[in-house]
Symmetry: C2
Subunit: 195 residues, 2 copies
DNA sequence: ACCGTAGCACTAACCGTTACGGTTTTGAAT
DNA sequence: ATTCAAAACCGTAACGGTTAGTGCTACGGT
């Protein structure tokens, strides 16, 4: 499966990247709402239908790497050291993600997102999807036998932490503050005392 | 301002109700996606532009009473008995809201919402708006001097409780389970010991 | 009785998105 | 090498939500 990636897949990935790159450039230059799909397609030299075969919507052009985000989260759960407690592992990952998207280089993009209702809405439902994925990963961990509701709840809280910290004046401090609350919430649900 | 509502305002409210009622009826009869805006407008005997002067979007037709929801939440905070603790008051209100929208009579509407991605997305960003309103109410309460981050966090958690409980197998039990977690998270943030 | 405002109407467009039908490229099987 | 099916791509036309733009009418305050 991860053998030599054939020419086809490389070309496809190249097209995808070309589209996403062109779109982001145009959006940042002239504003998300001011640039139409037909224009992005023309500039990237592909047909409109091709664009939509790579991206499900206009908004998706902006959140090209959202699957990375999702994978890093589940990885933080499934790939942590044996017997390492869940919450600190998640805290570390969220801290890293928050740092990443509050970096100066990312500022213009997030400003664009915050200014467009369509993009905000898209990001919101994206987060919910991520929370659901994270909940599944938590529920699947045999070390912590949680109820379905508790798993989903903690997952939501963690995603909330990301979202709130990103908007806070001091993002890193906010992560710490919110995770103290999550830690407390988590301990209530722990049936056994595992140090 | 709340004196005799003039004829004009009554007519406006009547038009609004007629549009919303017609829309909901058509949506439930034939499916949200299968009914177009032009059709709703024709059936309600108004122009398309009139419809959009009463409702900001097609989705808003379905969530006609979302401001009630918002007000009940803030009321639960600002209108509670003096010295009554915050979290139990919110728990009661959420419990009532969940009961209300998991009632049999509301089932067809929520089934329609769950089946339509557009409506789901709309509800999600509505919830975020409600969380923000609730956060403001919590932050404004002089009895509980919280940080901005803590207020917003608790508000999100409470809205999460509503959303998760509504989808749970046993909604009422889910509210209790999640609010035990919220209570723990809340206590971490309380600077003073108030009973 | 008069005026400003607000609700409403109609047309025509804009824009994201999709259906459709056709062409080229690619990887594999003969 | 040749052949073939799948998959990527193309271009057009349409559909449906949404928004000007332009008026008209009726209400409520003066």
């Amino acid at each position: 499966m991860t053998v030599p990636p054939g020419r086809r897949e490389r070309k496809k990935a190249a097209t995808r990247q070309k589209i996403a790159g062109t779109a982001l450039r145009l959006f940042l230059e002239r504003g998300y709402d001011a640039v139409g799909i037909r224009e992005v397609a023309a500039e990237a030299d592909v047909a409109v239908t091709t664009l939509f075969s790579h991206f499900a919507s206009k908004e998706a052009l902006v959140f090209e790497q959202d699957e990375d985000f999702e994978q890093r989260l589940t990885q933080a759960v499934t790939g942590r050291a044996p017997h390492e407690p869940l919450i600190p592992a998640l805290r570390r990952e969220i801290q890293a993600l928050v740092r990443h998207c509050t970096a100066d280089s990312a500022a213009p993009i997030w400003r664009m997102i915050d200014e467009s209702p369509a993009l905000r809405k898209y990001e919101e439902s994206m987060r919910l999807r991520h929370a659901e994925t994270l909940a599944t990963a938590i529920a699947a961990d045999p070390e912590l036998s949680q109820t379905a509701t508790a798993s989903r709840t903690i997952a939501r809280f963690v995603i909330d932490a990301y979202s709130l910290a990103r908007e806070a004046a001091d993002p890193e401090a906010a992560v710490d503050e919110i995770f103290r609350m999550i830690e407390a919430a988590w301990e209530v649900t722990c049936p056994s005392r595992r140090a």
